[in-house]
Subunit: 96 residues, 5 copies
């Protein structure tokens, strides 16, 4: 998984039936300083994350379908948690 | 998933039987400014996307076979939606 | 999937029984100008591609086993088509 | 798999039920000199690794669920071993 | 798959029961000149490869479990062949 920040959401006008009802968020993986460290990707939302939230991003289709409780959704990434803080070298860090 | 732009399509002369009838598009992942940010890849089309469309790209073989309704198509990526706009930092952005 | 050029083939002296009989090609992913754009990888051949062929490369083990009609071959990539031409921005391009 | 160093752990305040009870560690892949060589990622802990431990990181969801003995945990990486030493070019190296 | 050179092996002191008995090798993917072209990774050994061997590396967990004949080993990469030579542009190349 990766630590990522929610930067936006996607509005689809045409999409497959199996994706209707799911919110797709745009997230950017970040490092321990809160800096973007990889190109932003899209993930379905499993935890009702808000804009700016620091989240736990899981990049596996099987996991995404488990979270959505769907056997046939075509998805490859999902948000599985909202992160409050990270402990690094024994110190608690609040990522903003 | 990734946001991508359709830049072309592929004409195969020899291909496996399990791929016949499926359209293969050439898409380039893009960032929020609409700039290419990764090498272009090929994906089967699940939503009848046109040239220049901004699409939702899913990179998983299981998802691709679900969309094609095929148990034996050898594919690893699929277009699952056409994106109208993206909301970033509370502002709606039309990607062109 | 990716567009790739066949640059060679592999001669194994010791390999697993489940791989015997399959041809392993060395291919390099290329861009629309026909230039190499990523490190070369190995893939089993599903379409009898020749040296120099421009091919459709699928990077998924499940797809590779489907093409080989094998339940137990340890493989993660397969050539699923030979590409004749690509249409980009409405123009047909012959990749050489 | 990759060799990685445990640099921290994650505190989630909101997470999916299927992830409760699992410890999520932050690890950075390293080279034979013990230097970081890739962006840090998150993995569930299968071996009770401590801060600073050099671990064997497996990046596959199926493996992670096997280790957690869970059929429905949405995870894509897991720590499967603590590494004592590595033998390179016939010499034993202690990575610190 | 990738062409890789075996550069070492891993000694684990603590590891999961499902991994006991399997040898874990450290391999670096190489190009046609025999030069390292990617960060080294760990893979279980399916062919009793030795230090310095040029091998066929398969990066898929399902393949690795097929080779190990294990349903529950948490692994994501496996050595499936020892490569004697590679034919590039019609010439046989011995990679050393």
């Amino acid at each position: 998984m990766k630590i990522a920040r929610v930067i936006g959401s996607v509005v689809n006008t045409i999409k497959l039936d199996n994706l209707h009802g799911f919110k797709v968020l745009w997230v950017e993986p970040i490092n321990e300083k809160g800096e973007s460290c990889e190109a932003a990707i899209l993930a379905v939302d499993g935890v009702q994350a808000g804009l700016g939230s620091i989240v736990l991003l899981c990049q596996e289709g099987i996991s995404a379908r488990l979270v959505l409780n769907s056997k046939d959704a075509p998805v490859d990434a999902v948000i599985v948690g909202v992160i409050d803080s990270v402990e690094v070298d024994g110190k608690e860090i609040i990522i903003l």
